[in-house]
Subunit: 249 residues, 2 copies
DNA sequence: ATTACCCTGACGCTGCGTCAGCGTCA
DNA sequence: TTGACGCTGACGCAGCGTCAGGGTAA
């Protein structure tokens, strides 16, 4: 230390914290300046500054103010250990942010090339963003990973069923005589397109071949799902709805 | 997009956001899923996910939820631009965090070598921590820098005055007959030590030579500040207080 | 006397967390 | 029928921001 006690405004100016924040830390007993002038002005000594350093570090490690207070009151969390923890955390953060950077650059590339970006790409990128701001522990990360994998498998198992369900619903609307331009039908058709996209990974080329496949082998598909319908009529119905979506929408 | 609409729990599981958060974004009109099932369950389409992506990005850029909504409703802030801004911000963040990392490593070194760490070092490190979490714009950074420089200069100009003030106060206490062990005196002496530290940069060697200097030339110093006192008596008084601080404290 | 700080309440706000009570879907 | 999931209120809470009203220091 090389220095005299600082007043609250000086601490604020030199740290970037606000005066209100320092007052708050005093109020809740997290950082009480060890000196006061006779008139009651707070004076922060070098020791107070050192404590403040640990406070700010621990906050960035994700602790609540109450937890920070407990940490500093207990014998654990020596200044040294706090610094080491903070360094470790920063390294992880940096690695995550670099990963996020790469993901975003890939996105920017695809925007630039005017390609479509799949919702799954967006979802994965969002996930990294949220990881950046939440800081998960390694165990939490493991849990998240497992959950994702389970979701993936469950989704795959459910796909044929979704198709059957969707076809049935569209067929029902058509037979009720609902016009293809009705919002209900449009919503169904959006799900239709989404299912196709899920299969094709958003690649229009794959989607096109899939379309031909469907035309040629529509009845086979129908039979597979235990449904019976005139594939040509239903197809017209759906394409009419799709045109409505693309047109005036 | 490659995919069918997701329910709120699925979006939550795949992004790391909570269901409550998605509900909240819906409530305030920030992200309303464009579909619902008949029974009212939210269905997030690929477009909704793309919007969510922008929402999360803009939040990390420091916007409030209300500001994010305005951004997305206005024609500015295209998906592309949001991604670019986010990338730029991440680069700055990473650079800052690397800087902070180096500062913390320097601190860890000094702890390891059992050296003393000056309050100014702590202050500078805290400042970077706060910069990391607040994200200042370049202009704000410039303002901060200027403010710091002004503080430095102002402080230097004020030092002689502080000495005079402090000496006067100690002398007053001594003449009032206040014992050297009184808290008031101890506080004054802490300020005394702090002032010495500020001059010596916390180096005990320099402090020692300064101490000898003070003994030999106490009267000169006194004359300079227009004060008159018995330097030997006052010195004894102060050293008694310092002993009290180090001893039973 | 002015100006720039400092103090102590006290209320307000954002961004959700956390029940509670109740439908729903496989 | 029984979980697992979804819905809508409604209240709660952390961490300050932001006055208001008044002392203080150079």
């Amino acid at each position: 230390m090389r220095f005299q006690a600082l007043k609250v405004g000086e601490v604020a100016a030199r740290t970037g914290l606000t005066i209100r924040t320092l007052h708050h830390y005093d109020e809740i007993g997290l950082l009480r300046p060890s000196l006061r002038t006779e008139s009651g002005h707070r004076l922060y000594t070098a020791d107070d500054i050192a404590r403040l350093h640990r406070v700010v570090s621990l906050r960035q490690l994700g602790f609540s103010l109450e937890e920070v207070r407990d940490c500093l009151d207990g014998a654990d969390f020596t200044p040294m250990r706090v610094v080491r923890l903070h360094i470790a955390r920063l390294r992880e953060q940096i690695a995550l942010q670099e990963q996020l950077c790469r993901a975003l650059e890939a996105l920017a590339e695809r925007f630039h090339a005017a390609e479509e970006v799949s919702a799954d790409e967006f979802l994965r990128t969002i996930e990294v963003m949220i990881m950046v701001e939440n800081y998960y522990t390694p165990e939490q990360l493991e849990t998240l990973k497992q959950r994702r994998e389970q979701i993936g498998e469950a989704r795959m198992a459910q796909v044929p069923h979704d198709w059957a369900q969707l076809i049935a619903e569209v067929r029902a609307e058509k037979e009720k005589g609902t016009p293809a331009t009705d919002p209900k039908v449009l919503a169904l058709v959006q799900r239709w397109q989404a299912l196709i996209n899920e299969f094709t990974g958003g690649d229009p080329g794959i989607a096109a071949s899939l379309g031909r496949l469907w035309k040629e082998r529509g009845d086979q598909l129908t039979a597979q799902h235990g449904q019976q319908f005139d594939s040509r009529d239903l197809q017209d119905y759906i394409q009419q709805a799709m045109a409505t979506l693309k047109g005036p929408g």
